[in-house]
Symmetry: C2
Subunit: 510 residues, 2 copies
């Protein structure tokens, strides 16, 4: 055991393999970029393959290989289940899967784990039943949780080497030029899939909308694609849009959002040409609304908004309050339409969004970001992965990437949820280290990280109640009582990689 | 000495190093893609550097390294001369330069070769004084001539490894997002530069138009860029547009163009959704005009036009006769504007345009291409590199890429030029092997490659005089007499790589 820089105990074997988290930028060094094996395509050769099974056969997939998928279809994804079913039916074993994330709809993987088809997983997150099964210890090897930027880093560095990527695309031509803005089930940006396309040895596109060559715009180019398979349906548009959230009417969330917007508009970063990222939760969307009112009142426009994009952001773009929207993922239908139609709505890949090892990601240029939390502890560490019962149910996402890159990160959360405190002595699972967190915003007031004396001074006269993080914790505990410690087992079921590839935490079985 | 598949004698030492040309697709095999060393950029780090000299210092350039440039500014380029002057002034020696091509304006490199600053060159072409100096034997090491697709292949395979790319860009933000459609000296597509940006260890952008972050559209992304330098002027718009050619009024060229258009419109490929590439010469532009008239008359539209793009192609796009223009390079100002404004005018890189080792280049999807020639021989081999005096003055360009990829290649040329035959017994220098050539079009008629019995049948009733290639040669020789053999020296001054990296010919000193 060794205690890392985030204050968490990490078993020696994992430290040996991955290194121990040592600070946000301690392990960012020059490196040789990974590369793929390319099988050139000659004139008159076709990439069209009749079925997923035939495509799997053509790739020469073998037991022990790594395959990947993207999560742009979220709860509407049919592709990962279709491909895994074929792979299981064909009798493959010991497959590693490296999807950009895993949703509830991917519940069938529980059986594939049990039957030995899948033996390794890396993902941004695990939801509901899959998360519960993993937390119960059904896998021999721990799942590796990576942030969106961390996955990009792992791919570009070769830590994740994808043998075959199976990428669902809303439209493609027969030569593999694909995008997410045209088709029966549009998902908008293909920012996460673009990584797999560029670095995988072989790429199989799966689409339900085959269009004449050449399909444009080109998010995934023909030069990254080996095979194209047409299927009846790649996904359910309703499930794809499940990331969308309505504007909240919850008074507590509205108060948090109002405070967060006020923190931003009273910060040194709020000026003509500023930039921001907001999330998709109810309170996050409400922040956009309050921010919008302030920007109109103050005559201030933002140079860009970044992130997972929702209609709230598209409206700001269309109203001229935001000059450009930089988009790695779309959470609702209107934003997929905007990406296809508005030249100032621009698609980028995950490397350009958030990788700590790139020649400069967009998160590095961000003034402020609003991020959510399941738990925040008195060292400002944030957990977005495990519930208060210790069970995996969240996703790392871009949380630690954005907070490390931006100039001022805001973590918004209610002080308590039901009978559970949100501000705690120590989070169950560290996803984002406290050094990346600048301001915690709750419905009773804010806590500023003591390292940010500049912000403490800037906010001295702000009319929002201010506390130390310990005071917030004490109030939370005062309301709901001290939380019961979780009874973990001895088995490590998930490794939490920090974006640089080191281990910032582990999750044990419950 | 060994005689290769194109019938040319290649000295053993070069065969050993590069392999001997053995046929168009004989050497296209799976390979591990080359990669770059990446120096990650952390938040708050700036890429802005005050001067070119300071940027060179920051890159840690050393004697013996390889640097590169792009040729999108053609005769208007200031960047290569500016950078090389600094490098010479700083005392560097033994530098390899790997520009995508070299123009007349780059005449200063003659002195840098003589002074030992530059000791190796690879390029698509060499013009006028530089070509003459190389042909005179001023370099110890032969220049390596690569086609546009061949250069892309060489970069992706690691045959060309660029230590530092100095890329002039019409606009960039301080973080390195650049395009060619905004700025003081626009060049449109940055298709060739995009290769260097993706594979060079370090990339220095040089711009005269610094715009607010984030600059869009993004042709070269921030994730490919290490440093950004602002200078007063990157190029002369008049020189940049020097690729533009007016519509010809020369009756011989018009007749060739009319015949070429007729060959296309009477071929099996001329149908709804066909595709084509035309060049920039007077006759090529005239082909577009004749083709346009036929397409209107026949009610046929093309799915795409490819290539180096001129206003003639943009007009076809705007008139709806061509659905999409796929653009690796722009030859005039109107096409740079169109690329920035028309969503159906799409920018691609050189790998996607023409590399034989990619997962499928656009040339592979092309129905027909019209290409020019300095010489064509009775084996249909084409020379676009050396003049009738044996002196280097041309460029390989996309000639062998396009003809190998497309379904029907047309080589258009006058039978004689002045007192010099164009159709000859053996070309001075083979750029494109005869097996890639389908129809030769002259002002007196056409010759169809005997391997294309399908075309011979298809054109049986075409009202254009038809000859064998030997008959065309005999007529040419009959008009101007047998050409005098060139008195070459013993020194190899240039190696002609076929697109697959093998040596298809060598050029000796004159």
């Amino acid at each position: 055991m060794e205690i890392n820089k985030a204050g968490k105990e990490i078993p020696q074997e994992f430290i040996k393999q991955y290194g121990s988290y040592a600070g946000e930028f301690e392990r960012i060094c020059p490196y040789q970029e990974a590369s793929r094996k390319i099988n050139p395509v000659r004139p008159r050769e076709s990439k069209k393959v009749a079925t997923i099974r035939a495509a799997i056969e053509k790739t020469g997939l073998k037991d022990g290989m790594t395959i990947s998928f993207h999560h742009h279809f979220r709860e509407g994804d049919y592709v990962m289940n279709m491909v895994l079913k074929e792979i299981a039916d064909m009798g493959f074993k010991n497959i590693s899967i490296a999807p950009s994330s895993i949703a509830n709809i991917h519940e069938p993987i529980i059986d594939y784990i049990k039957s030995g088809v899948i033996t390794n997983i890396t993902s941004s997150g695990l939801r509901d039943k899959v998360g519960a099964a993993i937390s119960a210890g059904i896998m021999q090897n721990p799942v590796i949780i990576r942030s969106h930027g961390g996955r990009a880093r792992a791919i570009t560095s070769g830590d994740i080497h994808i043998d075959v990527a199976f990428l669902g695309v809303p439209s493609s031509d027969e030569y593999g030029n694909a995008n997410g803005t045209v088709g029966k089930a549009t998902c908008g940006s293909l920012g996460y899939a673009m990584m797999d396309a560029k670095y995988a040895n072989q790429v199989v596109l799966v689409t339900d909308t085959l269009v004449p060559f050449p399909n444009t715009p080109i998010s995934i180019p023909q030069t990254d694609v080996d095979y194209v398979v047409e299927v009846a349906e790649i996904g359910d548009p309703k499930g794809i849009a499940k990331g969308a959230t309505r504007f909240t009417t919850n008074p507590k969330e509205l108060l948090i959002a109002e405070y967060a917007a006020k923190v931003i508009t009273h910060s040194p970063y709020y000026k003509e040409g500023f930039s921001f990222q907001t999330g998709t939760g109810g309170a996050s969307l409400a922040v956009s609304r309050f921010l919008k009112d302030a920007m109109i009142k103050d005559g201030i426009t933002a140079d860009f908004a970044l992130g997972g994009i929702t209609n709230a952001m598209v409206e700001l773009l269309e109203e001229g309050l935001v000059k450009k929207v930089i988009d790695v993922q779309d959470f609702d239908y209107p934003s997929t339409i905007s990406l296809g139609a508005n030249v100032n709505h621009y698609e980028i890949d995950a490397n350009m969004y958030a990788s700590p090892s790139s020649k400069g990601a967009f998160v590095n240029q961000l003034d402020t970001a609003i991020l959510s939390a399941l738990e925040i502890d008195t060292a400002f560490n944030v957990n977005v992965m495990t519930g208060s019962d210790g069970v995996i149910r969240g996703a790392s996402g871009g949380h630690c990437d954005t907070s490390a890159g931006c100039k001022m990160s805001l973590i918004i959360a209610p002080l308590v949820r039901g009978r559970i405190p949100t501000i705690v002595d120590q989070v169950n699972t560290v996803i984002t280290p406290g050094t990346s967190v600048d301001v915690v915003v709750t419905e009773i007031g804010i806590a500023i990280h003591p390292d940010r004396q500049d912000l403490i001074e800037a906010f001295a006269k702000l009319d929002i109640p201010q506390y130390t993080i310990k005071e917030l914790k004490d109030i939370a505990y005062g309301i709901v009582g001290d939380p019961e410690p979780i009874q973990y087992g001895e088995k490590v079921v998930a490794l939490i990689e920090y974006r640089d590839g080191s281990i910032i935490d582990v999750v044990k079985n419950v």
